[in-house]
């Protein structure tokens, strides 16, 4: 790995997770306030995450197995915010026992 490859690979990896976080954050707040702009912003972050994953796969010297991990991660990231949100909503809708 060249010195420059070290830097841009690490930065891409960090931005990748950050984009995933942006997706989770914007999507959740958007669902909370029923704000489609924010939900779209979340989806846009997810698209950025996909692009970053693509960049990691195409331009970084990581071994093939790690690139597979990145691809699997980006697929899992897609599910986390909506699945978590749906699950929490269901959990809250069920009659709650007293404390």
């Amino acid at each position: 790995m060249t010195p420059y490859a070290l830097i841009y690979t690490a930065v891409l990896l960090g931005l990748f997770v950050l984009a995933g976080g942006g997706y989770g954050g914007f999507y959740s707040v958007g669902r909370l306030w029923s704000n489609t702009v924010l939900i779209r912003a979340g989806v846009a972050c997810y698209l950025v995450a996909i692009l970053l994953a693509l960049a990691i796969c195409l331009f970084t010297p990581l071994a093939a197995l790690w690139k597979v991990v990145i691809v699997l991660s980006v697929l899992i990231y897609a599910a986390i915010p909506p699945v978590t949100w749906r699950y929490l909503a269901k959990l809250h809708r069920t009659p709650e026992e007293s404390k």
Binding site: T2, P3, Y4, Y87, K90
Partner: protein
């Protein structure tokens, strides 16, 4: 299987933790075998009687320690027991002076001073400290530096005098020699070789 039932997730937490712990135990048993002195990755303490170098291995694609022929340390050949006693002393010095709170060992510790994983192999001893101290061997230069670092400064961030006596300084040097022979999966990379920025 009701995923809204806490019991489902409780079972999930217990089983996941249990499985991971079992795997960790197995890996630990194997790892301890590999890292004991004399194991696959960690040499016996009397490696201090041998020459040690760090060379690129094309099959593993990383730098690995290479143990060569006999090389006396402090002009002496140490028995296994003497070497072990020296290592025990060296580690006690390192702990008692809290070296790990300025330096790193295998990259672990504090970052105010250089990493000491391959300190034994550092070219600075031959290039800088042997001329400065007038020592005839690398280990003598190291001992002189450790005992009186204030006499041989090379930088604005100086090594403090931790009042090491000769025995302690020699033990530390021997310890560093042994440590440089540990197979660390290539850490630090490119040791001693500079690279172009591209």
């Amino acid at each position: 299987m009701d995923i809204q039932d806490p019991g489902f997730w409780r079972a999930g937490a217990i089983s996941t933790t249990a499985v991971m712990l079992v795997v960790l135990v197995f890996l630990t048993i194997n790892s301890l075998r590999v890292i004991r002195a004399g194991g696959a990755n960690v040499p016996e303490y009397d490696v201090i009687n041998r020459q040690i170098s760090y060379q690129y291995d094309w099959t593993r694609r990383m730098d690995v320690p290479v143990i060569g022929g006999q090389q006396l340390l402090f002009g002496k050949l140490y028995t296994e027991d003497e070497a072990r006693a020296l290592m025990e002393k060296g580690k006690l010095v390192i702990q008692s002076r809290a070296c790990m709170d300025c330096h790193t060992f295998f990259g672990n510790g504090a970052y105010y001073a250089p990493d000491l994983t391959k300190a034994w192999l550092d070219p600075a001893w031959q290039q800088i400290w042997m001329p400065m101290t007038g020592a005839k061997t690398r280990e003598e230069a190291m001992v002189m530096f450790l005992m009186h670092p204030e006499r041989y400064p090379t930088w604005s961030r100086e090594m403090p005098n931790l009042h090491l006596n000769q025995t302690e300084a020699q033990a530390v040097v021997a310890y560093l020699k042994w440590m440089s022979a540990v197979d660390t999966n290539g850490f630090p990379a490119n040791f001693g070789h500079t690279q172009s920025q591209q």
